[in-house]
Each structure stands twice: as C-alpha cells, then as structure tokens.
Amino acid sequence: MQIAIEQLRYVVLGTRDPEAARRFAVAELGLQVANESADEIALRSDERQYSVVFAKDDARRQAVGLEVRDDAVLLAASAILESRGIALVRDPALASRRNVRALAAFTTHGGVRVELVVRPQHQAWRFFPARDTGITGLAAVSLRSTDVAADEMLFAEVFGMRIADWIGDAAYLGFDGAHHRLALHPASRAGVLAVEFGVEGINQVMQQFYRLRPEESEAIAHGPGRRPVSDQVFLTFRGPDEVLYAFVAEGRQVDPAAPPRPRQFADGPASHCSWGSECRVPELDGRAAAPARPSLRGVPRP
C-alpha cells in the first residue's frame, strides 16, 4: 500500500531572529501574517491558512508539511515507515499548534524532517498580500538531503511520488499536476534549500529582479532564468537564516494519470537555467560538498 500525499502544505523554518524573518516575509515576499504567538509566526500565501511557519528555535530545525487524507492513512504510514526503520511519531500538542486534526512526524534517512498532517485549515476569506508581488501560492520546496538515493526511494515507493526528472543525482518529485513539488539535492547537511512561490507571470519575476537591485546587492542567488526541467521562469534570492526563496511562473503541467517519462539531465548550472544566468547556489552547480556520490535508486553501490 502507498501513502497518498494530498498536497504540499507548509514549510517550517527555525529562525534566530523572528523579527527579521517576519520583516522579510512581509516586505519582500508580500506574505500576510496569519497567526503570531510567543514562539511562532505563521504566514499566508494563498488559500491555505498558512504556508510558512517561522519557529523561534534553532535555525537548523526545518520541516516540510504534507497533507494526507485521514487518520487511517496516518496509521498505515506508521506501519510502513516502521518496516523501513523510520519512526513516525504522533504529536497531538504540535497538531494543535499547527491547527490540524492529527499530525505525525518523521525524519528520512537523508535527514529531511516531514510532518504528515490531516485536515489542515483552509481559509474562507481570500488571501490579501502585504505587497503586490503577484504571489499565487506555495509552489514547491527544495530540500537538501544527505542521502538522496534513500530519500528518493522513500518518497517514490512509500508515498507514491512521481520522479519528474533528475539533474545529476538531484531528483524532482511530483504528486499532482505540477511538474514537481519537492526537489532533493545532495548535500552535506539536511534541511530546506529553497521555498518557492508561484507568481502570476514573468512580469512579477522580473519586477522582483529589478526590485532587488541586481547591480548593487548580493540578494540574488540564481536567475532570472528558465528551468529546462520544468520550463518555469524563476528568480532565486536570499532570505534570512540562509534559506533561499524563489518566485516561479509558467512551467509545464503534467497529467498525473499519464505522466511523461523522467529525464536525466547532466549535473551543472546549464541544466538549471536555459538562459545562462549566473548560479550562486552551491547545491545546484556541483560545488556543494556532498558526503559522497550517492548510489542511484535501483543501482547497487559499487
């Protein structure tokens, strides 16, 4: 049995400086503060009650929230993950903080923290951005993994995710009509590499580019460019706590019932941008210190 993922739901980012994180999210991304407590700031980007949570915590504590249908699925997941040596831990206190019916969390072999949630809140009133960034919603999360082969296998086999494409050893994973919702990049430490928001179009991507003053500032990490894998126009820029943020637009849609075959692209910057933009993200241009070249899924390590 496979555990079906309903939706990419949120990303949790630990932060050393919640005020700076909040300022960035509101001023730069145009997110709307949904909820603020002594130790957490939840921000909204679309019809979800929130899609980004800044936790006043260790900056390395990061997680991605995925929605599953109901409690039965959570139970089944527990058994399957256990058989693979991964503990799925139910956390009613965290469920209440996240405003969901049930929550269970686990950590992959590659170190990626995942929270599975049941019935997260949908917001009845429409999203009203703090700034006119043209955000349409949380689109994807790029993850660093210390064992991409194991994590790719886990997400594909247990959660039934579709391998959209590979660039070198990095895997792009999808589970709905979007080309991908998660990306796994080999790295020496696990966590969130980039949080990606969809925007209305190329105009918003380029407006953000000029807003960030490309001549004088180091804020832009990659782009503007177009991704050969997903055909998305993108701009990746730096946020607080060494997390990257991206605005993406356009991009290919996939019929989940008849997905195209995954393609293998070469490692290196050319596979990440067909416009030839400068890439300052070590994980994408082959400069990152991966622990060792991971074995590919289904190919035994030599």
Partner: protein, 285 residues
C-alpha cells in the same frame, strides 16, 4: 502622401569594417550575404540584406523604406522636392549596391538620411545566423530628432506613419500593423539612434542578456518590457557607438479605426514596466 510599405535596410559607415563584421556576425548573430569591395551586406531574414557596413565615416548612416511602385517612387521624389527636401535619384550602380531596382535619397527635417526603395531583393536562401540568437528579422529603427513635433508631422503627414504611442514627446510610429517601425527620440544630432531585430521568444532576449554580458559588451538597457508595445527588450552597444536592440512580443495594431495612441511619461517607468533603468542618452531626461 508617400506610402511606406516597410522598413528595408540600414547602411552604416565604419572605419573598421573587419571589426564591425565580426560584431555583426559573432555577437549580433547576422549572416554575411555578400562581401564586396569596401562593404559587407548582412542578412537577418528572408530579405537579401537588411544591414550594410561600408568603409567610411561612422556618421554616415542611412535607413531605407520600401515603396510599392515606380510611380509612387517618382511621385514621392517630386513631392519631397516641392516641400524643399533636395532629392537624389539613385544611379544604376548605386541601386545595384543596395540590391534594389530603383531608389531616391533625401534628408528628413532633422537631417537623417532616408532612402525610398523600389523592389528590394529577396533572398532565395533562408537566413541562418552565425549564432543561435533566435533572430526573426530586422524590424525597426530609432531615429534622432532635433524637433519631435516637426518631425512627427513630417512622418505622419508627408508619409503614411501613424502615432502608436508617445513617451514624453518621442512618438512611436507605425506604417503597418506592427506597433512601431520608426521611433523618434529628441536629441541634438541627426542619425540612427538604435537598430532593432526581433527575436523569436522572450527566452531569446534573456539568453542574449547573459551572452552579451559574458562577451564583455555593455548592456545599456534591460532586459525589460516596454509598457508601450509590450515587447520584451534588450539594448546593447554596437560598433561606433550604435545601439542595437533585440525584442520579442511587439504588439500588433489590427484595428486602425478603434486604436487610440496613449501618452507615457518620459522616465524609466515609461520605458520599462519591470523596473530596468535606461543607460541610453536619448532615453534619459
């Protein structure tokens, strides 16, 4: 009224024909259609040539427009003479050099050298660029004007141009459905202010941005998007101070009766809706 059918070619003098040729092919991505003594002709589309660099004074710049018939050419010459623009009737040799059947040359009120040509030659072979810049063809010129109001009147009353939009006093003029084939920019000299080639997609514009920069050639404006024509653009430096432009997605004006020109401000937002700031003298107040 002189009916301009299309913009046809540009002729530019240069003291360094080899350098200009290298630029036009390796950077701009044009194809050499003919090398002759002291001149090189370049192809950018199905036409036999749309740009010619010749050994001479870089201030020697000409833009040519096609007219439909010899009758119209004769009438245009007579009309221009009547209005006080001295007209030079092209000789057979000069026409052959321009790959046209016949032409007349004159100066517009600012002093820009204009040629009206009849039956410019088409190429049998299709264009294939020296690099994959995605060029679909030579499309428009920016012309210098020392009096935008006077020159707008010349192009719209003596010729058939219509104002599509204005940025400050600078009119963008169409002679067919394309938003503009001529743009007049106020300055203190005569000459060609920029030369535009259309590229297939806005991806080509963006790709060229990185290519041009990597070649160490100054990008003077863009990548950006014009609020007037909705074209995605990139302006960069060429030989002898010329400015070249790539653009894609220029608006088409099909309904002549319903279209009304608009006024944009002569400031960066009037030139780019993405926030790029022009580094071009004539685009700055």
């Amino acid at each position: 009224m002189i009916h301009l059918r299309d913009v046809s070619y540009v002729r530019l003098g240069t003291r360094d024909l080899e350098g200009a040729t290298r630029y036009a092919t390796a950077i701009l991505g044009l194809e050499i259609s003919e090398r002759s003594r002291g001149a090189v002709h370049f192809k950018s589309d199905q036409r036999e040539h749309t740009l010619c660099y010749f050994e001479g004074d870089p201030a020697d710049q000409v833009v040519a427009f096609e007219v439909d018939s010899r009758v119209e050419l004769d009438a245009a010459g007579a009309e221009l003479e009547r209005l006080g623009h001295p007209v030079h009737r092209g000789t057979a040799d000069e026409a052959a050099l321009r790959k046209v059947r016949d032409f007349v040359a004159f100066r517009d009120p600012t002093g820009n050298r204009i040629e009206l040509v009849w039956r410019p030659q088409m190429g049998a072979r299709r264009y294939r660029g020296e690099r994959d810049a995605g060029i679909t063809g030579f499309s428009h010129v920016g012309l210098c004007t020392t009096d935008a109001v006077r020159d707008e009147a010349f192009w719209t009353t003596v010729c058939n141009a219509r104002v599509s939009d204005r940025i400050g006093d600078a009119p963008l003029l169409r002679i067919d459905e394309i938003h503009h084939k001529i743009a007049l920019f106020p300055t203190n000299r005569a000459g060609i202010q920029h030369i535009n080639h259309q590229v297939e997609t806005s991806d080509d514009v963006q790709r060229s941005f990185h290519f041009i920069r990597e070649q160490g050639i100054p990008v003077v404006f863009g990548p950006g998007r014009h609020p007037t024509s909705s074209a995605r653009f990139l302006y960069f430096e060429g030989p002898d101070g010329m400015v070249y432009e790539y653009s894609s997605g220029v608006r088409s004006i099909a309904d002549e009766l319903m279209y009304r020109e608009r006024q944009f401000e002569f400031a960066p937002p009037g030139f780019c809706e993405w926030g790029a700031k022009p580094g071009i003298k004539e685009f700055k107040s």
